[in-house]
Structures are given as C-alpha cells and as structure tokens.
Symmetry: C2
Subunit: 137 residues, 2 copies
DNA sequence: TTGAAAGCCGACTGAAGTGGTTGGGATTAA
DNA sequence: TTAATCCCAACCACTTCAGTCGGCTTTCAA
C-alpha cells in the first residue's frame, strides 16, 4: 500500500516548480539538485506530467519546465494520478473493470470506501497549499 | 498505491470466518474453496493473522480457525495491517522513521494526511459491518 | 557559427517484491 | 491407525522498481 518513488519524487519536483513559479522555465538539473533526486530518473516522470498537461517544456539552452497552470489550480491528486495511475487500492475498484464475482464481493465495498477517502484528500490539496505550508514555518 | 493480494485475500477469508462465526472451527480448505483462493497461499496469510491474535487455530482432523474476538470487535484496519504492515503511503510517515530531511519536506505533510484518511476509514469498519452489508442485499 | 546547455527518447539492468508452489513435518478426531 | 488438518521453511517464475546510459534534437549565447 505504498506510493512509489514516482509519485513522491514527482510531487517534490512539482512543489519546487510551484515554489519558484514565474514565467522563466526551471531546468531539471536545478530541480534534481534542489530536491536531491536523480536528474535522469526525474526526466521520465516529467514526460508523464507533460503528457498530462500539468507542465510545459522549453527546449534548448536556458530551457526547462513551467507549470501549465497556477499552483492554486493544480492538485496533488492530479500529480499523483499522472505518475502512479489511478489511486484505487485494487484493480477491481476501477471504472472499466469487469469483476467476475461482482456480487457477493463485500471486500470491494470496503476498497471503494478507501479509494474515495484517498481521492477526497489528494484532490483537496493544491500545490499552492503546499507552498503556503512552507512559508508558515 | 495498490493493496497486495495478501490484504485482499486475507480480508475475504476473515469475512468468511465472520459470516460463519460460531464455536466450531472452519478449515482453510473450506475457506479457500468458498472464496476461490489458493489454500497454500492462504496458509501464509493466516500465520500472520494468528501471530497478531486475530484468529485462533485448532489442530488435527476437524480442526480449523476461529476468530479470536467477535466480528463486531475486529476492524478491517487490524486485518490489513497484520497482512500488509503499516498502511502508510511511504516509509517516512512511519513512527520510528528518521527522515534526514525532516524539515523542508512538505511532501511528508501530504503523505501524513493520506495516511490518516486511510486509517480512519479502515478502523471504522468491522467484520460485522461487512457481514451486515451482505445480508442487506 | 558553433558549442554548450538543455529537453527528448528508448533500451538496459540489478535488486526487490509478488504470488504463489512444494514438501515434509506435527496433531488429533474418528 | 489413518486421514484431515494445521505448521513451517524453502524455493521459484515473474513483474515491478528505481534507476542508468547513450545518443539524439533544439536553442540560446558568446
């Protein structure tokens, strides 16, 4: 029931982008150093985030990445789902899943409750919230 | 962010024990058949559940397992933690973990919120709740 | 104009985790 | 005494994880 490093690292990186949000792109190298992560690995994660429209890239020297939207308009849930896939605790809780033993599966009801609870938390926190939480300390 | 089969299968098995709760032990073979699970695999899971005092075993022919407490007194959280370990979405959220970058880690605040949310859901559902949910359908 | 800085992309890899299986005990009711 | 049952440890194939590596392409700045 662990979040993989993809989700965690990606969130740390997105937080950094939010923290230094401006019209200037920020390089992967900088983010990796700032957060103590592998630049090459982060690259893979950013490809997901870009594909899902959460960040934009600027190629060439002095290039880097920028958030596609305001930090207040990007939720932790969007970031995690982009990197981890659905946050359902089991496949049978996903929309398009056809569970053969649909009836009689009380366990599924429990799993759905867990999923909803996770969703409601991560969708209620934005990158801006995270930034503000830093500033308050 | 998935629950492994350990947690899911174990919960299904415990549900079966709750459903047929009496003073007679129920054999692993029966549970495995009833829920469509591997008997040998379930065995491993039951060793955890027994170690953690959630079930008691009766050896020998006509033996099997019984819940150690009333279904209404065993929560889904206890079952899942016995099988999966802590339900924290990352190691840094566990009690005894010493995170080197303790400060400056906003991500951890988010992870803690996720953990608390999961805990409160699974600790609020008992095996009896699951049984009742079946009977209502 | 040319080199360095950056993003882009696909292949590869060692280590760990998952989801079991197998075999051989020890106990006990019938 | 035998079959049913729990107990235990080892093994295994497969997948996922957490990166690394090498070689592109694009673009700014000197």
């Amino acid at each position: 029931m662990k979040l993989s490093t993809r989700g965690r690292y990606g969130l740390m990186a997105m937080y950094q982008l939010a923290l230094e949000f401006s019209d200037e792109p920020i390089s992967l190298k900088y983010i990796a150093e700032k957060q103590g992560l592998s630049e090459n690995y982060l690259e893979q994660l950013f490809s997901n985030l870009k594909r899902d429209g959460l960040i934009q890239s600027v190629r060439g020297a002095q290039g880097g990445y920028i958030l596609s939207r305001l930090p207040s308009d990007i939720t932790v849930g969007e970031v995690l789902r982009s990197l981890e896939g659905t946050l359902a605790p089991a496949d049978c809780v996903m929309h398009d899943f056809d569970c053969s033993k649909e009836e009689n599966c009380v366990t599924k009801l429990v799993l759905v409750k867990i999923k909803n609870s996770i969703d409601s938390v991560v969708d209620s926190i934005t990158l801006r919230d995270m930034v503000e939480e830093t500033l308050n300390n």
